[in-house]
Symmetry: C2
Subunit: 315 residues, 2 copies
C-alpha cells in the first residue's frame, strides 16, 4: 500500500507537506504543490480513509436505517438507496444500511426511513445527527425531508378537474400515517377551492382491495369521473377494475402517486405524481451534512411532479 511517506520520499519533501497539498493546498507554495501532485500521480497514491478517520475522530459513515418491513414496501427503496449511496460516495462518505436502530455504533449520521410515530420518542433521544425521510410532527424538532404530499394530490386533483372530469373522488389508505393525511388534505383543499363536492374512500394499500372497492361502487360511479389515488398500488387496482370496459381515459381518469415501477407496468400506463428520488436523495444528504458541519436543523419539503400518461385525458 502506497502511503504519504512514499509520496514524500518521491517528492523529496516531508509527509506533512504532502498532507497539506491534499487538504490545504493554499498553504503550500506553487512549485512544491506541483511537485507533490506529480509525485502523487507517479506513485499512484490514494489517501487511506481509515487512518484519516482515526485521527479525525470521524468514520465518514452514514447509516441508512429502514424501520419498516422492506418486503412490503416495494421498489421505492432500491432507487432511493442507490441515489443516496451515489451522492454520499461522491462526498467521501460511505453508506451503511441497517434495519435496526442501534445508536451505539460509530456512525457520523443517520438517515431514518419507515419510522412510525411510536419511534419518534426513541429517535429524539439519540444524540447522533440525523434526518428523517418523511414529514414528522414539528414538536419533536427532528429535521426531516419529504416530498410535498399535499401538493402532490393537489396537482393530481387539479389535473383531473382541468381535464374535464365532472366528479372527482379520492381513494386513500386506512393507515394512520402523517403522509396519508397530507395526501388526503391535498385533495380536499383543492376540491374546496374549486367549490366541488368531495368524496373519499379508504382501502388498505393493496391493488386487490382497490379493485374490489371499484367493483362494489362502480354502479354509483357516473361516467366522466376522475379518481385520485393515494398510491400507484391503489391506482393499479382501480385501473384493473375499470379496464374490463376499457373506459380509461374516456369515462374515467385515474391518477396515482409515487411514480416508481408500478406506474410503468399498468395498462394503460398511469398518470401519476412522481416522487423526485434523485432530488430527495440529494436533499437528504445535504441536510445531514449541513448538520454535521454547520449544525443547522432544517425541515424540507420537495415538490413532486405530475407525469401525464394514458390513464387520464390529455388536456
Amino acid at each position: 500500500m502506497v502511503n504519504l511517506a512514499d509520496v514524500a520520499r518521491q517528492a523529496h519533501v516531508s509527509k506533512m507537506t504532502v498532507s497539506r497539498v491534499i487538504n490545504h493546498p493554499n498553504q503550500v507554495s506553487d512549485e512544491v504543490r506541483d511537485l507533490v501532485n506529480q509525485a502523487i500521480k507517479a506513485v499512484g497514491y490514494q489517501p487511506n480513509r481509515i487512518a484519516k478517520a482515526l485521527v479525525n475522530q470521524q468514520n465518514y459513515v452514514i447509516q441508512f436505517i429502514v424501520l419498516e418491513d422492506i418486503a412490503t414496501v416495494e421498489p421505492n427503496y432500491a432507487i432511493l438507496l442507490l441515489e443516496i449511496a451515489e451522492v454520499l460516495n461522491q462526498k467521501g462518505y460511505t453508506l451503511e444500511i441497517s434495519t435496526i436502530l442501534e445508536p451505539n455504533s460509530h456512525v457520523d449520521g443517520l438517515i431514518v426511513s419507515g419510522w412510525r410515530d411510536s419511534d419518534l420518542e426513541r429517535l429524539s433521544a439519540i444524540n447522533v445527527p440525523m434526518v428523517l425521510y418523511g414529514q414528522a410532527p414539528t414538536w419533536y424538532d427532528l429535521p426531516y425531508v419529504d416530498v410535498n404530499n399535499r401538493m402532490g394530490t393537489s396537482l393530481a386533483t387539479t389535473h383531473l378537474i382541468e381535464a374535464g372530469y365532472k366528479k372527482v373522488i379520492y381513494i386513500g389508505m386506512t393507515m394512520a400515517l402523517p403522509f396519508v393525511w397530507e395526501r388526503e388534505q391535498g385533495y380536499l383543499e383543492t376540491m374546496a377551492k374549486h367549490h366541488l363536492v368531495s368524496r373519499t374512500y379508504d382501502v388498505s394499500n393493496h391493488s386487490h382491495d382497490a379493485e374490489k372497492l371499484i367493483q362494489n361502487i362502480i354502479a354509483h360511479l357516473p361516467k366522466n369521473t376522475g379518481i385520485v389515488c393515494a398510491t400507484d398500488r391503489i391506482a393499479l387496482g382501480v385501473v384493473r377494475a375499470l379496464k374490463a370496459q376499457s373506459q380509461i381515459p374516456e369515462n374515467y381518469g385515474v391518477v396515482g402517486f409515487d411514480g416508481v415501477f408500478i406506474d410503468q407496468i399498468t395498462s394503460p400506463k398511469l398518470t401519476t405524481i412522481k416522487q423526485p428520488f434523485r432530488q430527495l436523495a440529494n436533499t437528504l444528504v445535504s441536510n445531514l451534512l449541513n448538520q454535521l458541519h454547520h449544525s443547522e436543523l432544517k425541515m424540507e419539503l420537495i415538490q413532486p411532479r405530475l407525469v401525464k400518461r394514458d390513464s387520464t385525458r390529455q388536456v
Copy 2:
C-alpha cells in the same frame, strides 16, 4: 469516547490485557478476565472499528456494486440489498453501495451484480476478493452465486405438465445473458424428457410486449396450454392479455419467475419460481468471507422454489 485505556484503568490492568480479553480470551487467567469484563460493562466500552481496521489493515467494508441501470431492474435489489446488509452487519462488516467499478478503493471484498459479459475481463483483472451475483462462464474462474435458473424453469414446466396442460410453450427474453439461456434450457430439457414438442417465443422484458405477443398468437394457442415465462414481468403481460376472457387457470396456465413484488400485484396472483433472496444473501456473504479468511474459490447454485398460486390449476 471510552477506549481500551479507560477500561484498563478501571480494571487496574494494562491495555493489552483488555485487548486480549476481547480477542484471545483464553490467553488470560479466569479472574482477570472476569474483572476486565466487568470493567468493560461498567464503563460501557465498545471497540473502535476504525482503530482496529487501521492496525489490521482491513476496512471491514464490503462493496456491493450494481453495474446495471437500477431504474429498469425493478424491486429485486432492495430486498437483496437489505438482506446482505443485515448478514454483513451481524458479522461486523459494513456494506457499501456503489454504482461504479473503481477497484482502487479500500474495500475488503466486492459483491458484483448486474454485470455483462463485457465486464468480466475487467473484473478478473481486479485483485480484490469478489463474488459475482449471477452465473459466469467458468473460464474466468470468478466465484459466483446464483439461483439455479435451469432448475427453476424445469420446475415450472413440470408443474404445468403435471397440472394437465396439454401444450406447454415458453416465452423468453431477447437479451443475450447467461441466465436467459439457462432458463430456456430448463424448459427445453424438461419438455424433451417428457417427449413433448417445445415451442419458444422471445420478447423484451416488458409486460406490454408480452401482452402484444399473446394478442398476436392467441388465435394459434389452443385451449389447455401452459405458458412458462422467463420473468414475472413477462408473465404479467401474459396474464393481462389472457385476463379479458378470464380463462386463467382453466384454459391457460401461467408461471412466472423471480417472485418479487410483481407476482403479488397481478390478478390472478401468479404462480411463480421464487428466488430465495435471504438464502442468496447468506450464500453471497459467506462465499466472500470464506475467500477472505480461507481463500477458497467456490461457485454455488441455489435452488429456487415453486410457489403455486392462482394462475395455474391446482393439481
